[in-house]
Homo-oligomer: 279 residues x 2
Amino acid sequence: MNFVQRLQTIQRRNNSLLCIGLDTDLARIPKFLQKYSNPQYEFNRRIIDETKDLVCAYKLNLAFYETIGEDGWSTVHRTLDYIPKEIVTIGDGKRGDISSSAEWQARLFYEDWNFSASTVSPYMGRDSIEPFIRRNDRCAFVLAVTSNKGSKDFQYLKVGGKLLYEHVVRKAIEWNAKKNIGLVAGATHPKDLHRIRSLAPEMPILVPGIGAQRGNLEAAVRYGCDKNGELAIINVGRSVIYTSTDEDFAEKAREAATDYRDQINRHREKYFEREKLNA
Amino acid sequence: MNFVQRLQTIQRRNNSLLCIGLDTDLARIPKFLQKYSNPQYEFNRRIIDETKDLVCAYKLNLAFYETIGEDGWSTVHRTLDYIPKEIVTIGDGKRGDISSSAEWQARLFYEDWNFSASTVSPYMGRDSIEPFIRRNDRCAFVLAVTSNKGSKDFQYLKVGGKLLYEHVVRKAIEWNAKKNIGLVAGATHPKDLHRIRSLAPEMPILVPGIGAQRGNLEAAVRYGCDKNGELAIINVGRSVIYTSTDEDFAEKAREAATDYRDQINRHREKYFEREKLNA
């Protein structure tokens, strides 16, 4: 099963485009978890238990794990082992490098940790991401328009009448022989997300920026999805996982995740033909 | 002492612009080191012992350490602890992210590991690198023109009559209020290195691509240096550290490093006023 098929399968099975960002900050998790030998893993485990039927994917931003020191590496490993195999896992590291280094990066993400997808930065060009797109069961999401304010600094520069991010999208399409490249387009830029979906009608699009970053959820669904109302992966991090700092944090996360999933599905009902979703 | 002063001090003291890339690949290091509990650290330790008087900096590409698993994190830590404090250390990770994640990245590089500098990718813009330029004793080297083939894919796009990398350089100059931003410009692109030095006459420039990547050493020195023949950091990795796979590997690395340092200094003699170097 290639990556796109796998994504479609879980999106249909769980009837969900929601991705939960496990950006687990030790300073923000409930205090009572500190009694466990690995509080970060314990937090993740409980969030996964409560939400695994509500999501199509989990995304781990590696910055939150690397900083923990030696344990961080194995927390990533254990968390991925704990996630049911049918759910997509995204290693968010914005990697990419000269090929001798990128080989090792891809090996870390896809072999050692066993993520099903990763995020990569386009600036260094094709050979810098090539090791991330060698396997057709793994997907590399290329940054196109990011959700942060600094996205304006370069991504919107005009290059021959087009914006830089459009060139990135066009190159990503050109490199997509194995159908295992996706794009990152922030929900904070609905117009550009729309443009990107029209340029790449069949690619998975990872849509960050919902919740703490105040992206537009309706637009994320309307413009992020393919023609069947699928293949958008709508990431929500902090506003799901940090809903409570008490013993009930995982149940509260479930409530928040349910609410996001349902809101997303209402928007899908509005803009897409639902009968196709159960095809 | 800010970063630029620190770099100047060690470049003058060791009379060297050479940076050794400790991209220590377990598959390429001498077999006899496998008997040590941490062969990667043992390799680094011996290379440092033999070369610390010949360099201004060591650069560690994190890809080679992350992949090792839990031990990789502490190998970076132990290697940095072992490097004499006056030598610049560069954490080469091409990082940068939305600010909540970049905060953690910068903390890892500058606080936990204690690198004196890092490499960052410009695509996500100012706020994605801001945590890396908060301390004026630490430097963020922004990718301008990279040494790989893929550099042609985006870095040379024409934006309003200028190349994309020139926009990156101009932004980096604009953001350089604390004088702690540097640039990455590959020795495989001498003309562009020249252009970048003329745009940024006073910034440190990290010049990769010498050795295995066949960059032009004379041009790296001639165009990478500031007007005093300083502030270029010429990185050489594989063609110094993998000169021998026998017991004598560190001595052989010393010979190769000496040769590179001397070649660099001969080019400095040719193109710059040497009396200023000892000012």
